[in-house]
């Protein structure tokens, strides 16, 4: 199944009741699949007049307590930034998928990873985070959708799945979970009509009283601290005795894995560290992966964005080299293999 379609099917199966989207390449198949399937599944599909409207429809639906989702690609995600900030400020759960393409501006429609900063550092104005997952196969995307909805509800925050054009467009065999029948109860805060049985609920991000807003933000950051403690995840591949650790996520990690496997077969002590959560960044996991390493090679489909988190997490104890392709160019296993050889001086 195609990555984009698998994301859509997985969302429907885990109780996503509505999808609001706007056409943009390379995520269009996701919307098209939703258009075909959602109504039959008893949910709502609506093509909005803009990315801005789509995210605000998500905001409205999420306010009433239903599981809501939107998806887009890089330029469209920029337009959603406003709504995501409001949702974070209103403690609303939702899942947002970014099937990244080359940028800046209209950029290209080819796969890229140049929205890492946006997703992990600045997904809108104000003090907030979104939980960011970075799957690297169609199956993992399916599994991540379920996780994303559950964590969004658990922590009452927007969750982003940061995919890219390669993951969205590729086809792989996949198994889906059974449809979810029991969903979390949100009646203690949702704005779904009070039936004259309780006080009215207000979904709001405005707090004109500065100390009150500070308290609200601090309360939210207390939740973020729990996310940092409990939700980091990473794959450590052949890192046990690695002297060089390659760091990469998503599509570039797939390519890097081939290169690492090939180098290992030749006796080079190299491993791969692949974060599955980008915010929070898996700090303890990368420390474990690089405990014996002399060097890190960070590989991205960008000019180097995750590299700052790699350096911070490893406290710059060892040098971090960089190899990246950008603009929609996908690095080849041979290119990364060459970089590994260069940094290790060949077999040891």
């Amino acid at each position: 199944m195609k990555g984009n379609e698998a994301l859509a099917e997985a969302a429907i199966r885990c109780g996503c009741k509505c999808f609001f989207g706007y056409p943009i390449t390379p995520q269009t198949e996701l919307s098209a699949y939703m258009a075909k399937r959602m109504e039959k599944a008893g949910g709502v599909f609506l093509q909005a007049e803009s990315e801005i409207a789509a995210i605000n429809m998500v905001l409205g639906a999420a306010s009433t307590g239903v599981r809501a989702m939107t998806s887009s690609s890089s330029p469209g995600v920029s337009l959603k930034a406003e709504g995501i900030s409001y949702m974070a400020g209103s403690d609303l759960p939702a899942v947002i998928i970014n099937v990244q393409r080359g940028g800046p501006g209209l950029g290209s429609i080819q796969p890229a990873q140049s929205d890492y900063f946006q997703a992990t550092k600045a997904m809108g104005h104000g003090d907030f985070h979104v939980l960011v997952y970075a799957p690297c196969s169609v199956q993992e995307m399916v599994d991540t959708v379920t996780l994303a909805f559950d964590k969004a509800d658990e922590y009452r925050m927007p969750v982003m799945i940061l995919a890219d054009g390669l993951l969205g467009q590729m086809m792989e065999p996949v198994t889906f979970p059974e449809p979810k029948t029991e969903l979390p109860d949100k009646s203690d805060w949702a704005a779904c009509g009070h039936k004259n049985e309780r006080e009215h609920h207000i979904i709001n991000s405005l707090f004109l009283d500065a100390p009150l807003l500070e308290a609200k933000v601090k309360e939210r950051f207390e939740r973020y601290r729990l996310v940092e403690e409990n939700e980091t995840d990473a794959e450590l591949y052949m890192c046990e005795d690695a002297e060089l650790v390659v760091t990469a996520y998503g599509a570039s990690a797939r390519v890097a894995k081939s290169a690492v496997t090939k180098a290992r077969a030749e006796g080079i002590k190299v491993g791969l560290f692949r974060p599955k959560t980008l915010w929070p960044f898996p700090v303890k996991e990368i420390k474990e992966a690089t405990k014996d390493a002399k060097k890190i090679l960070d590989v991205e489909m960008s000019m180097g964005q995750m590299i700052y988190d790699v350096k911070l997490a490893t406290e710059c104890r060892i040098p971090v080299e960089f190899f990246g392709r950008t603009g929609g160019v996908i690095p080849t296993p041979a290119e990364i293999y060459d970089e590994i050889k260069k940094l290790t001086g060949g077999a040891q």
Partner: protein, 252 residues
């Protein structure tokens, strides 16, 4: 003793932040009277805008969502589509609805979203201190048109009811005012009709209310009502621009 005038149940018993002579209080009351009379308070979800009426979430007794600037019709779309049995309305000012949120307003109308929009037109951005709004009259002095709105450079005021009435998905487009008792009674009838349209699933109803902003107009409350009568109504004629229910009735 019989009580002949009381606060509607839907209007919470709290002091509002609105200025003396501001029209919001009157319109809030009308909306809440309709919610009471129709017995729908418990099933209603309001969506409030950015602007002076942002804090209406503290006044409306129903569940309320505060939308980003101009996005209330999109937020309401998300609410109504996933909760079709609920009553959903937006309450928006002119900058919110007719400038930054024009796309959301027009497209919720053309899709025929089954929601009510209460549109407060007071020709200015009240909360930010009285800048030019999309509905500011030609020649009107505001903070950003200090020499009066020059239509050569600042363009013309937009007539939203006329625009919305051209859309097939719109069930009701009506302009009312709150400058006099007869007009207030007419305004309430229009609001009631709008909510009844939603119950009958007729599509989107927009009620534009010509309202006042004494503070930013620099006028007394009384002179503000005169401004509505003498300046606003001639540019924004009151009346029904579209009424699907009436058209259907006439066709019978």
């Amino acid at each position: 003793m019989a009580v002949v005038f009381d606060r509607p149940q839907a209007l919470l018993d709290v002091p509002t932040h609105f200025c003396p002579g501001c029209g919001h209080g009157i319109v809030h009351r009308l909306v809440c009277e309709v919610l009471d009379e129709m017995g729908v308070l418990g099933e209603t979800i309001g969506v409030v805008p950015v602007g002076c009426s942002v804090m209406s979430y503290n006044y409306f007794g129903c569940d309320v969502i505060e939308a980003p600037h101009g996005r209330a019709p999109a937020v309401a779309t998300g609410v109504k589509r996933t909760n079709p049995d609920k009553v959903v309305f937006t309450y928006q000012g002119d900058g919110d609805l007719a400038a930054i949120g024009t796309a959301e307003t027009v497209h919720s109308g053309t899709r025929g979203e089954n929601i009510v929009i209460i549109f407060i037109n007071n020709t200015t951005y009240g909360m930010t201190g009285g800048q030019m709004a999309p509905t500011t009259l030609p020649g009107q002095v505001t903070q950003t048109t200090p020499f009066g709105r020059n239509t050569d450079t600042a363009g013309f005021p937009i007539r939203m009811c006329e625009l919305m009435s051209t859309l097939s998905g719109v069930a009701l487009a009506q302009r009312v005012a709150i400058d006099s008792v007869p007009h207030i009674r007419e305004a309430k009838k229009a609001i009631r009709k709008a909510f009844e349209n939603q119950k009958a699933k007729r599509g989107l109803s927009i009620v534009e209310v010509l309202s006042t902003c004494p503070t930013n107009w620099g006028l007394s409350p009384e002179a503000s009502m005169k401004f509505v009568q003498e300046k606003m109504i001639p540019y924004y004629p009151l009346g029904v621009y579209k009424d699907k229910a009436a058209e259907e009735e006439a066709a019978k």
